[in-house]
Amino acid sequence: MTNISIASEAHLVEAIASATGPLNVEGRGTKRGFGRPAPSRPTLSLAGLAGVTAYEPAELVLDVKPGTTVAEITRLLAERNQELAFEPPDLGPLFGMAPDSGSIGGAIACNLAGPRRFKAGGARDHLLGFSAVSGRGEAFKAGGRVVKNVTGYDLCKLMAGSFGTLAVMTALSIKALPAPEKVRTLLLLGLDRTAAWEAMVKALSSGHEVSGAGFVPASLAPAFGEERLSSGVTVTALRLEGTARSVADRMTALRALLGGRSEELHTANSRTFWKRVGDVQPFAGDNRAVWRISVPPTRGPDIAEIVESIPGADAYFDWGGALAWAAVPNADAKSAEAIRTGVAAGGHATLVRAPDEIRAAVAPFQPLPPSLAALELRIKQQFDPRGILNPGRMWAETG
């Protein structure tokens, strides 16, 4: 099928306005397998609309085009000791693509965020403004380049996580933040689930500013690559970031608070560990289906139990126990039902990776109650009345 490589906003306006039927929309295509499978259609590729157009470190803002790789932005910001604080995960390898090849437009459109989500916010919280072309073929803008802004509706939030179904972004203003000078991770070894969640709640309720908290079951510990994690015990990981002295002091305090058998990772090893957590590296190499399950933190153990009951399935936790990444050998209707029942009391489960036929049969996104589904459909129709942009990517009924 035709691949329309977008070169400019005017070109995109033309391509959408002249479209006679639905189009697939993608950044650099690394997360093509995320969402409901797209039929073969002409594809708007934003890979060519790339580059950083402005970066002002003292204003904590950078302007980019959507096809710019996250890797390029990360490198540029690192030169000034800054970073994207929402730690956009590199999910390319999970979908069998090369690492570091995903675009910023795609990261925002999928509203992805790494381990710091509960402290620093998600992609939604870091998009300050954008220009886009709606399904009507109209170029419009919203937001701005400053953090404090309540001028008009916050359409940035709506764009983040809309998977290209409402409008196609042509320029983004994104928040940059200072990168922490030092990172240390406390690894509590061998805690059972109850004790692990108690430790995470205690740590996150303390004043020690924990910026990452996860739980890895014994079965998955070797997949995190640390020698000392290969000893067949569970790992409860707690991250501290800041100046050298502050991190050292807080580490001492956190150890005193939690006690027990533990190890420590310093800056470089910590960064590797948390990147593995955020990028879902433990499941990148296998062919199981992958679920992402977001629940209230204390519901984590129930999710762990449900996943354990599925033969051959594994799960590890991020976000202080509130986010499960689960790998399931057969993402059939039965396991999907078990997982979705687990979030019925609050939360959502997304089937992130699975063969096309399964993502066509099992709704990849958490089904919405009818009132919200109707509201979302009306929003889609207001942005894209002809159903041109990625129809059916999120919900079957929006096709």
Partner: protein
């Protein structure tokens, strides 16, 4: 007053008695207010320059009652203005002569405090400060802290996406809420989010926050709470010029430090405040900065020293570090009393709320000084310097003919200047009616049409809070037809951003 509101519909106003009667069937009869005296208490919000008594005030007590009221209003084509505590500064709760003001004042309960999941579920009428007060004994707090926190409601905070001094480090309302229950104009009750992050589907939580009562009526809010920082210290810095203070602000941020708060006041503000509360501010400087660092004690010590060094490099001529909690609070007492202090040196003041890039601080202040001469009014500047959010207080006397009009024209000019230097019309007070007609300074017709189309998805008949935020009311059918073809837009060649 030059404000033009949607024309009141005489056909609705003539039915006032029967509408009140119908509402008395939906809520306890005493909660429907029609007496002129009592209605007058609702005739404005914090933007008192505009007043209009509502047709009727209704005070529901339950979500089911809110749903029944909205369903009735939708069926009968009656406009609805939602109202929290009425402390808003942009006229977002300004009543309509042919509209019902729906007050959420009876929704005052905290429904649940969940420490392990670090959140509070509350009704929208609970005040911002009450949230913190409910959890502070356990070492937690709710981070966004608008100056009006003693009175403003969490529902109003969500509607306006309120900020505060500490949002530089901890984010504004939208970064601190997890869930909402809201009622759509047709009476449908929707639950969005909960105690988990990133509810699936479109981010309705994000888009409803800051929607100024135009999309839905909020009936429940789940906020996240944070453990209280273990230490907090502040610096009081004085500078010989606004430029030097501006340079210091940029140097702190560029130096990788995000203070909990970084507030600036210019000479007129310093003098007004010092005469009022005797906070101990230096009087021989052109600008002061209050920089607060919070977090683990050793980090606070380290960063305080770094900020002090950066301030010296920027030319600070005064530097005091709070030696104890009492002194830290004294530094803040001046800043927190800046508005009442302005009220003491001038019969009236008009508070503006634009945001600019930090680097433009000195330039914008210089331009405001030039405008003072032109408009014949003076300004005291108080602002959240860390995030570039200005609050110029234009001093005027409403009893002097023409002064209010001049103050308003002055304010509009300041906000246009904010946009011109790369900023925005409003940082935390909202558009409401106050900045409504300035929206075209920031957005073109297509931008505004797309925003209004979002409203059409929620409220196709435009019954919820009409006349706010958008300078021109379009019917949804008309917006649906508006279509500008590729290459033929008036702004096709214009760089956006």
């Amino acid at each position: 007053m030059t404000l033009c509101m949607p024309a009141a519909d005489p056909a609705v106003m003539v039915r006032r008695a029967s509408i009140a009667e119908a509402l008395r069937g939906l809520v306890p009869p005493a909660n429907v207010i029609t007496e002129e005296e009592t209605l007058r208490a609702y005739d404005s919000d914090g933007l008192t320059a505009y007043r209009q008594p509502p047709m009727i005030v209704v005070l529901p007590e339950t979500t089911a009652q809110v749903s029944a009221i909205l369903k009735y209003c939708a069926r009968e084509g009656i406009k609805v203005v939602p109202r929290g505590s009425g402390t808003g500064l942009s006229g977002g709760a300004l009543p309509l002569a042919d509209g019902i003001t729906l007050g959420l004042g009876k929704f005052k309960r905290i429904l649940e405090i969940d420490y392990p999941n670090r959140c509070i579920r509350a009704q929208p009428g609970v005040t911002n400060l009450a949230l913190t007060q409910a959890v502070q004994h356990a070492g937690f707090y709710y981070a966004p802290d608008p100056s009006s926190q003693i009175a403003c409601s969490i529902g109003g905070n969500v509607a306006e996406n309120s900020g505060g001094v500490h949002c530089l480090k901890y984010g504004v309302t939208s970064n601190n809420i997890l869930g909402l229950e809201a009622v759509l104009i047709d009476g449908t009750v929707v639950t969005i989010g909960g105690k988990h992050l990133d509810a699936g589907g479109y981010d309705l939580l994000g888009v409803m926050t800051g929607s100024e009562g135009l999309l839905a009526v909020i009936t429940e809010v789940t906020v996240r709470i944070l453990p209280k920082p273990t230490a907090a210290k502040a610096l009081l810095l004085g500078f010989p010029s606004n430029e030097a203070a501006g340079i210091c602000v940029s140097a702190v941020i560029a130096g990788g430090i995000i203070p909990a708060g970084m507030e600036m006041m210019d000479r007129p503000a310093i003098h007004a405040v010092e005469n009022f509360v005797h906070a101990g501010y230096p009087l021989d400087v052109e600008a002061i900065l209050i920089v607060e660092l919070d977090g683990p004690p050793s980090e606070v010590e380290e960063l305080i020293a770094r900020v002090a060094a950066l301030a010296r490099e920027a030319g600070a001529c005064y530097c005091r570090i709070s030696a104890n909690e009492a002194e830290r609070l004294a530094f803040w007492s001046g800043r927190k009393n800046a508005f009442p202090a302005a009220g003491r040196i001038s019969p009236d003041y008009y508070c503006m709320d634009g945001t600019i890039p930090r680097g433009a601080l000195a330039k914008v202040l210089a331009r405001i000084r030039e405008m003072e001469t032109r408009f014949g009014l003076s300004v005291a500047n108080v602002f959240h310097a860390g995030d570039g959010n200005l609050h110029p207080l234009i001093l005027y006397d409403a009893n002097k003919p023409g002064e209010l009009a001049r103050a308003e024209a002055f304010g509009a000019e300041i906000l246009k200047l904010c946009v011109e230097v790369g900023g925005v019309l409003t940082g935390e007070h909202g558009v409401g009616v106050e900045k409504r007609d300035l929206m075209p300074a920031m957005f073109n017709d297509i931008d505004l049409a797309q925003q209004q189309r979002l409203k059409c998805a929620f409220d196709p008949e435009g019954l919820l809070n009409p006349g706010k935020v958008f300078p021109t009311l379009h019917r949804c059918a008309e917006l649906g037809r508006m279509h500008v073809h590729g290459g033929k837009t008036a702004f096709a060649g214009l760089p956006r951003f």
